[in-house]
Symmetry: D2
């Protein structure tokens, strides 16, 4: 691990996830924000003036005077974290990678590319083997690593230990997702007060596709998607932070309820072994109270990096069911990307 | 149909569903509220003083001066509508029936009894054949007819035409239920602001059990439950009125999406043929916009008696999926019971 | 009153207030919507396609096929109702008036112009005397009549009978305003969930200035502002519809509480005498329960045209205090403009 | 200051404020919770079982096994913090004081008693002179110190430096208060969703009476109430934590806006000089953005002990106006009482 702090640029720095990046990196031992970029009218202003800060607590003073730049290489940094909107992410992130800059992306643009890792450090760190394929195409030193969609992360994290232990053939999930997942300004208050929206564009497709890639097997230089069927129904509910998923799963082999509970609660992985800075001590917490998890009470577990599972019980249609919850802009976005970068440092890919 | 109006007593008259009974019966051509009863401290007071009216609009003036009585027979009425809490409903409703008074109940106490119809007029009116079994036990003229749980009603209504046309073998539903379903005061505001509660006591069990009884077949003087598996996961969300269910179904025989849509949208049944006062012209409305149904926009369809179905599409785990929504205290409770009573009049069971 | 219906154009037809215009005019005996215009990307589309309908119930079928036009004269209509945004309203409304088209405006652009009536029919119908001044400048037959800001309307309506009876020298109001007042998309859900915003741009200034004009005296061809001091503090709260104002007033002469109550509750004015279609039977309802008015329970009083006053009591700083509430997009916007137009017909200004 | 930690009992330990006491005392250097009492059905159970914990984060493990006792002396402690409901607080707190146990109370029962300090350490620490009067009546060593109502605290804190510098003759405040102020379960969700309640029982009277006592002068062994008129209008809004007050004030002498701002922003007092554990570095923060303070963004300032003032400007009715906000269960309740106790230790009244 390098003793100096890596210099970081944030693409999409004024958005909701961009603000989370800046908040989570404020006192980070390995990273220092040295550049901020945004694809909007804020270019040229000081970040402190350009950004309408929407998180609890004050904007970190270290970034206030950074000038917002256009999201184009080169920026004064060793790597970039990107939370650009999908429509411009593909070209922009590609140009940074081509210019030799590692891109740790929360955007959807490259997630399903065959040579791009869709990484959850606890779940599929062997997928980083794909980086050698990227290096064959691009010798500049730049590369792209993505983290999954906010709902796919919590789902895959909860499924991973069950899949490893028992095999999963079928997943049916119904989500209740938070407002911050739609960015800012995002959902109009008149649309969600006293209401539920049963539609989030592209979300159901992303969850289905990404989950099988995340849980897939890396062999012969490529990802073999996990041979499971995933169906997702998505809803937006009037909650600020904290996505929830009601999940039913069918297993490849019979297992007792207590076995599932043990496998979930005892799950630890490489980030915990390596003691990565943002890795929670317990990636998954299992709660036995009948009315948990709840967004308000559980989203901040493990500083927002722990996924909470509750209501684990047998199901009459598939084999088991449970409810999973995680903080969608921490474990589901900015925190996910930062943990990815920490793993890349620990494994020597970033320096 | 009798030319005079039947005299009605309301058991549980001060609660949320009791208030809906009074609102919906205010200008009803066939019923007139002549007695109100409640199992609480309000006994002896005028209803206008005892009841904290929580519905839009003023309390109907005709009930203001009725004295709140204890829920015990006899009351000055020809039949009672009951929305008593489960714990006291069994004894109280039984005593009214024994005393010769028809009981049209929204309570859960008798729903699963073998000789009690669990009635949705559009779905299973032949189940009224069970009344002859009740008459064998009880010659007083009293009997009990129940309507299902608020979530089971909307689910069974949406499933009924599909089951009739294609056969349903498997149902997985995840609900997002409104606050009024918990009565008043019900859910504490501190528990639901910026939150979701993934637990409603007994609700998942009720939905599973009631749905198969509702869709069951009446033969040889008894109900044969529908041979389908039903799994329910239930959540409380921050919505005043309007339960929503995200449903996946497996059919007995192959069917095209357009066939399902047609069968749902063209569904009409006995209440529509008879022109019952509370029967909506269209029991099920199918919406094709990607973001419907929504509680705020769709709960009042058909004066709250129409169920709205949207997001109908193929599903990778079961065969099809859709989202269903209905007004939980109208179609799901008071309106359901009143429609039941209207059918009983039309078929000669009430006079 | 003309026997045929006047042909109406709606400027700003796709916005929140524009939709209210269309809803309230759907079955209006005196008006028929024949043109819709909007200053946005919806021009050229059918209204049914261009407008994302956000009100309860379906969009009236009569307007679905109207093509959205640019907001510029001529339109195929006898008058226009305008709810254009402030920045473009001044030029656009002026051009319609110059072209001979009467403009009944809900916009702020012309409200404080010396020769433009700021009209609440129950309060200051003599201000229509200003129309002769407009006719001196503009012989085309076009003119402009405005209704006040949504908060100023409810305030002035409650103050008017008190001012007439006792004289008011001082008004201090603190508002709690609904989301629909900010239009659509308006307030971001992340900004208002679990929150209050203590700032609405320009609102405090508008309330202070408009109230003294509304309550002013028309003489010598001009409006003499009412000689009272008005101070307003404004807040946005998480309510869909229904503005609330906590008011303190100082009177010119001593009066007993019961006198204030009587003057408010018995208030009737010209619209009631003329039986105007949108005029509520009772412009002001006084409620004596300690916890009223409430937005959810009282905003729809008088089809949204009645203002509700409660908590009327002596105050230790000024003389009396009360809380006032009204529906901000009906009495406070679209309904206000329509009532203005109905009065103009009754008085022969529109035909 | 004693080197050992004082042993503390919590009266009303299972309520919202009781839980805040336990949370805030969990790692307190001067206090250790050794007894919990509640006036409800939870007596005899372990606190961990009896208390439905509603705060973010887990219940401190140190209190889980404490048995809930009846709120009657003696308890195993050196002092008690009380948040008992008003109706039983008077007798219970009195009995503890009579039995020799200091009572640091958040209840309203004794606040207006002539010989009981109504203490805000930054504002009126000389009022502790009243303790000698209590000792004359009660030689047991017990005494009672109260903190004000949650809204009165934030109001008095903001007024105190202005009153000291310029004199205040008149205060008109309109509050927008949070749900947690009503305790748990408190406000029903159906009452507050899409709504505002313009009434909080007794609140307007408490604010008026307590403010003049708090800001009063201690001389000749008694409190001379501040010679100012205070009028309060109170509302409940759909916010979890954080009371807001829209305030207008009239000063005894003329002052410039900048002088008011400076006096508020530079305010420091005895708790800051003494470095009391719970004392915020800055009791009052003045914000200059037009849209602050906001509950969500400002309630946690200074760990919930800092009051935020914004929108400070001249007012046309009184002299100046501003909006004040503070965390109602920390600075407005449990934190207030703990700071009181810390001051009592520092001044030698507790040991």
């Amino acid at each position: 691990m390098s003793s100096r702090r890596l210099r970081v640029g944030i693409l999409g720095a004024t958005g909701m996830v961009g603000q989370r990046f800046i908040q989570l990196l404020a006192d980070h031992p390995q990273f220092e924000v040295t550049a901020v970029a945004a694809s909007d009218r804020s270019q040229g202003k000081a970040y402190g003036d350009a950004c309408s800060w929407r998180l609890m607590g004050e904007m970190p003073s270290s970034v206030r005077s950074l000038q917002v730049q256009a999201p184009a290489p080169p920026l004064d940094c060793d790597l970039v974290f990107s939370s650009l909107p999908g429509d411009i992410a593909r070209e922009t992130e590609g140009s940074f990678a081509a210019a030799g800059c590692p891109v740790i992306s929360n955007s959807s643009a490259y997630r399903m590319d065959a040579d791009v890792p869709l990484l959850i450090p606890e779940v599929n760190h062997p997928h980083l083997g794909l980086l050698s394929r990227q290096r064959q195409q691009n010798s500049s030193g730049g590369f792209i690593v993505t983290n999954p969609n906010c709902s796919a992360i919590m789902l895959a994290l909860a499924l991973a230990p069950l899949h490893a232990a028992f095999g999963i053939t079928t997943v049916a999930v119904t989500t209740l997702q938070a407002l911050s997942g739609a960015g800012y300004p995002g959902v109009a208050s008149l649309d969600i007060l006293d209401n539920v929206l049963p539609y989030i564009p592209s979300e159901e497709e992303k969850i289905a596709a990404e989950t099988t890639k995340i849980l897939g097997h890396f062999s012969s230089e490529q990802i073999e998607p996990a041979p499971m069927v995933v169906s997702a129904q998505c809803h937006r509910v009037n909650v600020a932070d904290g996505h929830m998923g009601a999940v039913r799963v069918k297993l490849s082999r019979q297992a007792r309820l207590s076995e599932l509970r043990d496998v979930l609660a005892s799950f630890r992985s490489l980030p915990q072994e390596l003691g990565l800075h943002s890795a929670p001590a317990t990636p998954i917490v299992v709660r036995d109270e009948p009315d948990r998890p709840q967004p308000k009470l559980d989203r901040d577990a493990g500083q927002g990096m722990t996924v909470t599972v509750g209501r684990l019980m047998p199901d009459s249609v598939l084999d088991y069911r449970f409810v999973v919850l995680s903080h969608n802009t921490i474990r589901g976005a900015a925190g996910a990307a930062i943990l990815n970068a920490e793993l890349l440092i620990a494994l020597g890919h970033l320096k």
